[in-house]
C-alpha cells in the first residue's frame, strides 16, 4: 500500500514536470504552424529586413524591420538607464545600507515589481510623456525615450533582486580577506565583490532585458506606435509586442496579416529564448 502511494505521487510529480515542457512545445508548434504560412507570400529575408509594414494595404507589405528596430531601440534605452541604477542599487542594498533602510528598500523594489504594467503605462502617459515633449520641444512626447524610461522601471526589480542575490552569495571570506589586507570598503566592492558576482550580475541584466523585450502594455501606451524606422530616440516607434497587441484584434483569421503577426510572435519568442538562455549560461557558470 505504501509503495502504491509512492508510485502514484511519483507519477503525479512526473506529469506536472512534463506538462510544463509539453505546453511550451505545443505553444511553439502552434506559433510555427500559424506563423510560417506567411512565408508563402513574403520571403523570410524580406519579412525580417523589409522596411515597410503596411499589413492591410493591397498587396500587403510585411517587412518588420521597423518593428525590430523599434523594440531594439526601446530595449537599449531601457538597458542604459536601468543597468547602472539597478546594479548600483543592488550594491547599496547588499553592501552599504544599514538594516532598516535595507529592508525598506527591498520591500520597495518588490512593490515596484507588483505595479501592473498598464498602470505604469498610464502614469507614464500623463506625467512622463508631457515632460519629454516639453523638455525636448517635440511635437509629441510619445517617443522611444519615454518607453525606455518607463521600461527601465520594469527591468529594475529583476535586476536589483537578482544582482543583490549574486552579491550576497559572494563568500564573506573574500570580503574579510580584502579588508584584512587594508582595502577600503569601496575597493573591496569594486575589485573583489563585483568581479566575484559578475556572472550573477550579468544574468540579472539579461533577465531584466528579457522582461523589457516582452513588455507590451506600457510601451503600446507611450511609444507612439509609428511603424517607421526610427531616426532618433526622440521619435515615435512601434515595438514587436505592441504590434501584435494592437493589430491581432482586427486581423482577419487566416489572412496574410494574421499569419504575419504570428511570425512576429516567432521572432519575439526566438529573441526572448536567446536572452534567457544567455542568462542561464551566466548563472550556471557561477556554480
Amino acid at each position: 500500500m505504501r509503495k502504491f502511494k509512492e508510485f502514484i505521487i511519483e507519477k503525479l510529480i512526473l506529469i506536472s514536470g512534463i506538462a510544463s515542457i509539453f505546453f511550451v512545445v505545443l505553444i511553439f508548434l502552434f506559433l510555427l504552424k500559424e506563423g510560417l504560412s506567411v512565408f508563402n507570400t513574403v520571403s523570410p529575408f524580406n519579412f525580417l529586413f523589409g522596411k515597410s509594414w503596411y499589413p492591410i494595404s493591397e498587396p500587403p507589405q510585411l517587412g518588420i524591420l521597423p518593428l525590430i528596430l523599434g523594440s531594439l531601440l526601446v530595449t537599449l534605452g531601457a538597458a542604459i538607464i536601468s543597468i547602472p541604477i539597478g546594479v548600483g542599487c543592488a550594491v547599496y542594498i547588499a553592501e552599504v545600507a544599514p538594516g532598516k533602510i535595507k529592508e525598506t528598500l527591498k520591500a520597495g523594489i518588490e512593490l515596484l515589481a507588483a505595479i501592473p504594467s498598464v498602470v505604469l503605462g498610464f502614469i507614464g502617459m500623463v506625467t512622463l510623456v508631457p515632460l519629454v515633449k516639453n523638455i525636448f520641444h517635440l511635437p509629441t512626447g510619445l517617443t522611444a525615450l519615454s518607453g525606455s524610461i518607463m521600461l527601465a522601471f520594469m527591468a529594475m526589480p529583476t535586476i536589483v533582486s537578482i544582482a543583490e542575490d549574486a552579491l550576497y552569495s559572494v563568500p564573506k571570506t573574500y570580503k574579510e580577506g580584502a579588508l584584512a589586507l587594508g582595502a577600503t570598503h569601496w575597493q573591496t566592492i569594486w575589485r573583489i565583490m563585483l568581479p566575484a558576482a559578475s556572472s550573477g550580475i550579468l544574468a540579472a541584466i539579461m533577465l531584466g532585458i528579457g522582461r523589457v523585450i516582452g513588455e507590451t502594455m506600457a510601451v503600446m501606451m507611450i511609444t507612439g506606435n509609428a511603424a517607421v524606422i526610427p531616426n532618433s530616440i526622440l521619435a515615435p516607434v512601434r515595438t514587436l509586442t505592441a504590434t501584435i497587441a494592437a493589430e491581432m484584434g482586427e486581423a482577419v483569421v487566416g489572412s496574410e496579416h494574421y499569419f504575419a503577426l504570428f511570425a512576429v510572435g516567432i521572432v519575439l519568442f526566438v529573441i526572448s529564448f536567446i536572452v534567457n538562455v544567455t542568462a542561464d549560461l551566466f548563472l550556471h557558470k557561477k556554480q
Partner: protein
C-alpha cells in the same frame, strides 16, 4: 622587544563580555600561540589586533592595545595602515577569485598608485619564493587561484601578506582545513618566517602550539589565564585550569 602589548583590554559583543581584562605582550620575531577551548575568546583577541572585530555590530572595547607603541583603539587610527602592517591568515584559505598573480599584487594595487609592471612582477616572485611556491607556480601565474590545492591556497594567502610587507602575521587556525602533511609544511614555513615577522597563531590543536610556538597564552572564558614560555606552560603550568586543559581534562 614587544610588538603588541595589551593593557586591561575588555571587549563586549552587545552584553556578552568576550575578553576580560587581558594583559599581554607579544614579542617580535617570535611565534606566540593562543590556545583554549571553543568560545574562550582566542579568535576575538586575535581579531582586535587588526580591528577586524569592527565588522561585527555591537562591539565595544576599552583598555589599550599598543602595536609598535601606537594605541590602535584610538579613534583616529588609520585602519588601512594598521591592516597593512598587521596581516591576517584565515581558517579557510581565502584567495580572491582572481589569478595567482592578481591575488598577490592586490595589496600593492590598492595601496600604491602607478606601480611599474616589472616591479609588480618582482614582488610576485619574491613573495611566492618566501612561501616556497615560486617553483610550483611560476609558469601559471595567470591561472585562477581557485584551482590550487588547499595548502597552496593557504601559502598564497600568506604570500599576499608578504607582498604588502606586513610586520605582524595573525593566523587564525591556519591549518585546520589542511591534512597532516600540509600542516607540517605550513608549520615549517612559519618557523622560517619568524626570522622576519612576528607571528601570532590561534589554534585548537595543543600539539601544534607546542611544536611551533615560542610563547603560549591559555585563554578561558575571555580571560588570559596564563601567558608564558611554551616549554614551561606545557611542562609546568602554574595555574590549575591550564593544567586541566593541557592534560585533556576538558576542552
Amino acid at each position: 622587544m614587544e610588538k603588541i602589548i595589551t593593557k586591561n583590554l575588555n571587549l563586549w559583543y552587545g552584553d556578552f563580555q568576550a575578553l576580560k581584562n587581558v594583559n599581554s605582550g607579544f614579542k617580535a620575531n617570535k611565534i606566540t600561540a593562543i590556545i583554549g577551548p571553543s568560545g574562550c575568546g582566542k579568535s576575538t583577541l586575535l581579531r582586535v589586533f587588526n580591528r577586524m572585530n569592527d565588522l561585527i555590530e555591537g562591539v565595544k572595547m576599552n583598555g589599550e592595545i599598543l602595536v609598535e607603541g601606537e594605541n590602535i583603539l584610538n579613534p583616529d587610527i588609520d585602519l588601512v595602515n594598521l591592516r597593512k602592517k598587521v596581516g591576517m591568515v584565515f581558517q579557510r584559505p581565502n584567495p580572491f577569485p582572481l589569478s595567482i598573480y592578481e591575488n598577490i599584487v592586490f595589496g600593492e594595487k590598492i595601496h600604491g598608485d602607478n606601480i611599474k609592471k616589472d616591479k609588480l612582477y618582482d614582488i610576485v616572485e619574491e613573495s611566492l619564493k618566501s612561501v616556497l611556491l615560486w617553483d610550483e607556480l611560476k609558469d601559471r601565474l595567470n591561472k585562477s587561484a581557485m584551482k590550487l590545492s588547499l595548502e597552496q591556497k593557504q601559502r598564497l594567502c600568506i604570500a599576499r601578506l608578504i607582498a604588502v610587507k606586513s610586520d605582524i602575521l595573525l593566523m587564525d587556525e591556519p591549518c585546520s582545513a589542511l591534512d597532516p602533511q600540509s600542516t607540517a609544511r605550513i608549520e615549517e614555513l612559519m618557523r622560517e618566517l619568524k626570522n622576519n615577522y612576528t607571528i601570532i597563531i590561534v589554534t585548537h590543536n595543543m600539539q601544534q602550539a607546542a611544536r611551533v610556538s615560542d610563547n603560549t597564552g591559555f585563554m578561558l572564558f575571555g580571560e588570559l589565564v596564563e601567558f608564558r614560555d611554551t616549554h614551561e606552560i606545557f611542562t609546568a603550568p602554574s595555574d590549575k585550569r591550564t593544567e586541566d586543559y593541557i592534560t585533556g581534562r576538558y576542552g
